[in-house]
């Protein structure tokens, strides 16, 4: 039993990502979408917190949202995977439920 969490807020604007990381269970997936993708970049004050969770949690970003914001794939935290909308659908189907961190 696992959950797909979606986070669509920049971690610098709200606590959505922090709260999601605090509540997600091992084996869950966090998909960063929209402004949420800023949470997957290296070199930020949050990068260490996110990096520490990679492994226990699977952390993904929506590729279209990364490109739209000019974030190079090379800037993503190691272990973060990029998926397109079809990949998003696959994640939603392969987890038991989905929870949006609005």
């Amino acid at each position: 039993m696992s959950t797909l969490h979606t986070v669509n807020k920049s971690p610098f604007a709200t606590n959505a990502l922090a709260s999601c990381l605090n509540h997600a269970k091992d084996g869950d997936t966090i998909l960063l979408i929209e402004d949420g993708v800023y949470g997957a970049a290296t070199g930020t004050t949050l990068a260490d917190t996110v990096t520490a969770k990679v492994g226990a949690l699977s952390i993904c970003v929506l590729s279209g949202d990364i490109s739209a914001r000019g974030i190079d794939q090379k800037r993503l935290i190691k272990g973060v995977t990029s998926v397109d909308y079809t990949g998003f659908v696959k994640l939603a189907a392969s987890h038991d439920r989905s929870q949006a961190w609005l």
Binding site: T3, K25, L102
Partner: protein
């Protein structure tokens, strides 16, 4: 439990009045109650502010919907989980929250508290045990 009953969780992470989300979430809960599902509400992060006592909206000219929480028991909505850590972070204790109760028909209509203060870990378990998670 019958096959056609699902576990519904309403996630409340936002404060009231600044935006309409809390009020319109409550409207879904009230309508949803008629569907006889296994309903829980989670209040954490700023969502705990929805439950505070003493809300008075007279001056802002917006409807005070906080008394509606006390009516949820009449709709058989009796599981309102509040996260302890979220209260702590905001300088609140259980005493700052409204008293919300229900009458337990399986226990000679004894009055019981609907608000259940739980730890972050307990809330995580509750959220991971749902079929449908509605966030607003």
């Amino acid at each position: 439990m019958a096959d056609n009953i699902k576990k519904f969780l309403y996630v409340n992470r936002r404060a009231p009045y600044g935006t309409i989300y809390a009020l319109e979430a409550l409207e879904v809960v009230l309508i949803g109650a008629a569907f006889d599902q296994d309903v829980s509400l989670a209040f954490f992060d700023d969502g705990v502010f929805q439950l505070t006592k003493g809300q008075n909206t007279e001056e802002i000219g917006v409807k005070n919907f906080s008394p509606t929480f006390r009516a949820l028991g009449d709709y058989d909505v009796t599981k309102l989980y509040v996260e302890q850590e979220s209260l702590d972070e905001r300088g609140l204790t259980a005493a700052d929250l409204q008293e919300i109760t229900y009458e337990d028909e399986d226990d000679d209509w004894a009055e019981k508290p609907s608000l259940k203060i739980v730890s972050r870990a307990e809330l995580s378990d509750i959220m991971a045990d749902q079929d449908v998670v509605l966030s607003f």
